[in-house]
């Protein structure tokens, strides 16, 4: 037995992968299958599951409702479809804003004298490693009624003798967007930086020698070569934004409900794990579809582990 193991490369490989497979199958694949099974069931009165095969939860998620205003037996309720659409849009806006903010900074770090490069990377890593929830708290302090921005504006208004009433910035969709953009910005900077740093200086010189304007060089040389970083950053930002519920919970209050909040509430408050499971699977399929088409168009690369 031991001798066979010593001689067989395939047996050794299998032995090395077994613990990983146990975890991946037991804690990922089986749970996903179980979630699917649960999503077809009905909730029972004590928050458990009555197993069945019904598509009720999915039909409800896409707008079928039996709780209608004017006595109809069924009608269209766009509540959940709106939540899905809102999450998708927020994911899109956050990603685009993060690319716009991250690109110049990543470009700057990649081109700065190597003596200073580590200092700037340090400046990017510190906010990233500061806890996620704590960073949301920082924005609560900045945006709320008696927060930093309102205090500063009030102080300024009193200097120039203008009446001032505090702005209601917290618990708006704008606050959620700012929070999301802030939370995931470092995950966009690092992959873009990694791909920009790989571009050789002579390439820029060649472009300049051949008469390309700086703008043209950027468009024809820099941008195409940094696309792997942008793609990796997009995946690292878009996917988590779609599933995060802390930012919307703390900065959006009850005003901004995303898929993440919907799922979390089904499990913790509404005690309907079957509907929550269905929503969770729809979220997964939605992100997989978007990621699939996006990576098929632009490719998938190693920059994803730059972080």
């Amino acid at each position: 037995m031991l001798k066979r193991l010593r001689e067989s490369k395939s047996a050794q490989g299998t032995l090395l992968i077994i613990p990983t497979l146990i975890f991946m199958v037991g804690m990922l694949i089986i749970p996903l299958l179980l979630t699917t099974v649960v999503s077809f069931g009905h909730p029972n009165s004590n928050g458990g599951v009555n197993y069945a095969f019904s598509l009720d939860n999915y039909i409800r998620l896409f707008g079928y409702s039996t709780d209608c205003p004017n006595g109809q037996s069924a009608c269209f309720n766009s509540l959940y479809a709106e939540i899905l659409w809102r999450s998708l849009l927020l994911g899109l806006y956050t990603t685009v804003l993060d690319i716009l903010l991250a690109y110049p900074l990543a470009y700057f770090i990649a081109r700065v004298h190597s003596k200073w490069r580590n200092t700037f990377l340090f400046l990017v890593l510190v906010p990233m490693w500061t806890n996620f929830v704590i960073r949301v708290y920082a924005w609560m302090m900045i945006l709320r009624q008696q927060g930093v921005i309102n205090s500063l504006l009030g102080w300024f208004a009193s200097l120039v003798h203008v009446p001032f009433s505090p702005l209601g910035m917290l618990y708006t969709s704008g606050a959620v967007l700012v929070g999301m953009v802030y939370e995931f910005l470092p995950f966009m900077i690092l992959p873009i930086y990694t791909s920009l740093e790989k571009i050789d200086n002579p390439l820029y010189e060649a472009a300049a020698d051949l008469g390309a304007s700086p703008f043209r060089t950027f468009l024809r040389v820099t941008l195409p070569l940094s696309m792997p970083g942008v793609v990796a950053g997009t995946i690292l930002v878009f996917i988590p934004v779609m599933g995060t519920f802390i930012v919307s919970d703390l900065l959006g209050g009850a005003q901004v409900i995303l898929v993440g909040n919907l799922i979390q509430r089904q499990f913790l408050d509404a005690r309907d794990p079957t509907f929550g499971s269905a929503a969770s699977l729809v979220l997964m399929v939605l992100t997989l579809i978007v990621t699939y088409f996006y990576t098929r168009k632009f490719g998938f690369s190693e920059e994803i582990i730059a972080v």
């Binding site: 490369k9 395939s10 490989g13 299998t14 090395l16 992968i17 613990p19 990983t20 497979l21 975890f23 991946m24 037991g26 804690m27 990922l28 694949i29 749970p31 996903l32 979630t35 903010l101 110049p104 900074l105 470009y107 700057f108 580590n118 400046l123 990017v124 510190v126 490693w129 500061t130 806890n131 996620f132 929830v133 704590i134 708290y137 920082a138 924005w139 302090m141 900045i142 927060g147 930093v148 500063l152 802030y182 910005l185 820029y204 010189e205 060089t217 820099t222 988590p240 599933g243 519920f245 993440g260 979390q264 499971s277 969770s280 699977l281 979220l283 997964m284 992100t287 994803i304 582990i305």
Partner: protein, 293 residues
């Protein structure tokens, strides 16, 4: 020379982004020294002169001076428990996931076996699905499993299986393995196989080759994988949120729960401590890396 290098536009955009990144962090730190209990008052008394504290409009002395909120924090047993839980979960799951992930990276990079493609694909899943989906899956798995076991074995009271540190650690290990594996795999990919082949030619068996040749060469990759796993674990909110139970609250979960009820400068003190630790750790890692090169 690159024509964009000193473009004022790039410099301005960089400065703006850095301001955006740091303004919240500076706010957190500044207010951890604020004298007012209702912390947001920017015009309020900030402990400019040290040991004064404003309580109900009266100026009183604090034994800790400007570090008043840090003292309060150090007496908060809930925070200390949460910090202890966070460290237990992070250390245990980092050690286990690093070992398991490194084994998987070796298998995928150096061996051929039947489930190779399946294993590689399954390792990408946690990266391309939202964390909440995995968290919900594990929650559903454990709750169904626990109900089944408790019912069929007629367990009652304390002997019942419930959510706790065990479930959190298992969940953390499973989402950290893919990250460790990918990092170590990337390192193995860049390695010249001929060193290992030379060792084998000279008569070393697989284990000796691994011990003396492969492992020392992939060690930096293993360490950065472990570091990544550790930070992911300490920072994790979503998966912990769905797998923790009574007595296994970690710091992020504790902070979130607190934020929904009340806002206190103690939280700023906690943030400041956290940021200072991050500063030191990131600084040390960069020093280590620059020495390596």
């Amino acid at each position: 020379m690159n024509p964009y290098r000193r473009s004022p536009l790039i410099i301005a955009a960089t400065a703006l982004t850095l301001f955006f990144l740091y303004a919240p962090i500076i706010v957190l730190i500044v207010f951890s020294f604020n004298a007012s209990r209702i912390s947001p008052l920017f015009t309020g008394v900030i402990t400019k002169f040290g040991p004064f504290l404003l309580v109900n409009g009266n100026v009183v002395q604090s034994p800790c001076g400007p570090f008043h909120w840090f003292c309060e924090l150090s007496k908060n047993t809930e925070v200390l428990n949460a910090a202890r839980n966070t460290l237990i979960v992070a250390s245990v799951s980092t050690i286990l996931s690093t070992i398991i992930g490194t084994m998987a990276a070796l298998a995928l990079q150096r061996y051929n076996f039947r489930l190779r493609t399946f294993s590689q694909v399954s390792l990408y899943i946690p990266i391309v699905i939202p964390e909440i989906v995995m968290g919900i899956g594990i929650l559903v798995l454990f709750s169904q499993l626990f109900t089944f076991i408790n019912d069929s074995l007629k367990l009652t009271g304390d002997s019942q299986l419930t959510f706790g540190l065990g479930t959190v650690i298992l969940a953390h290990i499973s989402f950290m393995i893919p990250f460790v594996t990918l990092v170590v795999q990337a390192r193995l990919q860049g390695l010249d196989k001929s060193f290992e082949e030379a060792a084998m030619d000279l008569g070393a068996n697989e284990w000796i080759t691994f011990q003396r040749v492969t492992f020392p060469m992939i060690l930096p990759g293993v360490l950065s994988g472990a570091l990544l796993a550790f930070t992911l674990s300490i920072d994790d909110f979503i998966i912990t949120f769905f797998t923790n139970g009574p007595g296994s609250t970690t710091l992020p979960i504790y902070v979130f729960g607190l934020l929904r009820r009340v806002i206190t400068p103690q939280l700023n003190a906690l943030s400041t401590v956290w940021i200072v630790i991050v500063l030191i750790v990131v600084f040390m890692i960069q020093r280590m890396e620059s020495r390596k090169v």
